[in-house]
């Protein structure tokens, strides 16, 4: 039987993302999962500040744009009073791991029953490509013009691994949008994460590696190669904490 393939109704609108930006793929995947789980009219998004904010232009689902870094705290407040809703905190890596470190950790620590989707493009996209906690060693950004020197700035930060190993969370994974196969696997992670929330198991997080051609100074296709060749080897894909299971 032929299956319709259509951008879910509530995100089916032109986007403001740059050409070849991975944000669009992720927001569509989340929407598809919600649709397939019958939750597309039972969801509230909290959206971080960053290029994620572009996703929301024209999006037709309940959503609140949050103070930079605080989306998962807002999401937790929603979930605590609306336990029947699916709550998704959609944030960039700068939003979630830099300024939002305290709130993201606190949310995972308390095992709040929300799902966090973090978009890791290894920089602050919206503000012009500065270094973020996830910037790769040696990567040139507008604040590391000679390449990131990890000996003074720290090593790229791995949130799913951290929460999976340190806290009692329900689910943690990392995916990528660099290929059809990885996109399909990523969709599986997102669905798992949402199902974990719906089943009341606790906090779930999926980090996604996406291309940011604009700030990487690459063409979209070069960006995908960069993810495959340089980023994935460092930021390994896969489930870091399986549902009902142990850290992986």
């Amino acid at each position: 039987m032929e299956k319709e393939r259509k951008v879910p109704h509530f995100v089916d609108n032109p986007s403001n993302f740059c050409p070849g930006c991975g944000h669009g793929i992720v927001s569509r995947l989340v929407a598809e999962c919600l649709e397939e789980l019958g939750q597309d009219r039972n969801v509230i998004y909290t959206i971080g500040i960053g290029c994620s904010s572009n996703m929301s232009a024209g999006m037709k689902a309940d959503r609140l744009h949050c103070c930079h870094g605080r989306a998962s705290a807002v999401a937790s407040g929603m979930k605590r009073v609306n336990p029947q809703n699916v709550i998704i905190s959609y944030q960039g890596d700068g939003d979630a791991y830099s300024i939002g470190m305290g709130e993201s950790m606190g949310t995972a620590y308390r095992n709040e029953k929300i799902t966090m989707i973090t978009i890791n493009n290894t920089n602050y996209g919206m503000t012009g490509g500065q270094m973020s906690a996830t910037t790769m060693p040696g990567q040139k950004t507008t604040t590391t013009v000679y390449g990131r020197d990890c000996s003074v700035t720290g090593n790229p930060f791995k949130f799913p691994e951290l929460v999976a190993s340190q806290f009692d969370v329900a689910y943690a994974a990392r995916g990528s949008v660099d290929s059809v196969g990885n996109i399909n696997r990523l969709k599986g992670y997102i669905k798992d994460a949402l199902e974990a929330q719906i089943a009341g198991e606790g906090y779930s997080v999926v980090e996604v590696l996406i291309p940011c051609p604009t700030n990487w100074g690459m063409t979209p296709l070069e960006s995908l190669d960069h993810i495959r060749n340089n980023i994935i080897p460092y930021y390994t894909l896969g489930v870091k904490k399986a549902r009902g299971g142990k850290s992986v």
Binding site: N16, F17, C18, P19, N54
Partner: protein, 181 residues
């Protein structure tokens, strides 16, 4: 004081065109301001900047009533065309369909800047071709002044790689307008 708006898609070099003009004005003794529009809709959207120059202090650096508009895409023509002063001028690339533009109180010049740029093997230089044409239109500086000022400016930024191509682009734009007017 003259006011110019340079508008187009991000990446078309409109901000650089504005900078060439304002930098030149300053180099030859005038006051100038250059101000980009920046903001929320920047991703994949349009870019533009406003340049003002003149002998006196420039009070408001922002867009008010441009004397000249350089529009490298259709949207820019529509958005800014209506603001141009009476008897002002609009410079568009050949990719822009100026026929839909209805005002008759401003002159619209279509410059085949992409074609020229391609011709000289400097596809990214279409904005500079247009800038050359505008330079002529403005009439405040000679072509030589324009060329040398642009050279110095790019030189200071360490962007000397395309110096010759850029010079050629500006010259061709200047000359094109010469014939056109």
């Amino acid at each position: 004081m003259k006011e110019l708006v340079f508008a187009g898609f991000g990446g078309q070099g409109v901000l650089t065109s504005g900078l060439i003009v304002s930098d030149m004005a300053v180099r030859y003794g005038a006051n100038a301001t250059w101000i980009p529009s920046y903001g929320s809709a920047m991703r994949g959207g349009t870019a533009n900047c406003t340049v003002k120059y003149g002998t006196r202090f420039i009070h408001n650096p922002s867009q008010e009533k441009p004397d000249v508009l350089m529009a490298m895409n259709q949207l820019s023509l529509l958005a800014f065309g209506k603001l141009v002063k009476e008897n002002g001028a609009i410079f568009v690339s050949e990719m822009v369909d100026a026929s839909v533009f209805e005002r008759t109180d401003v002159k619209v010049y279509t410059i085949p800047c992409h074609e020229i740029a391609d011709e000289i093997g400097h596809a990214k230089g279409a904005n500079i071709v247009l800038t050359g044409a505008i330079l002529h239109y403005l009439g405040d500086h000679t072509l030589e002044e324009g060329l040398s000022s642009m050279d110095i400016m790019f030189g200071k930024k360490g962007k000397t790689k395309y110096a010759q191509l850029n010079e050629m682009a500006m010259r061709r734009g200047y000359e094109y307008f010469e014939k056109l007017k």
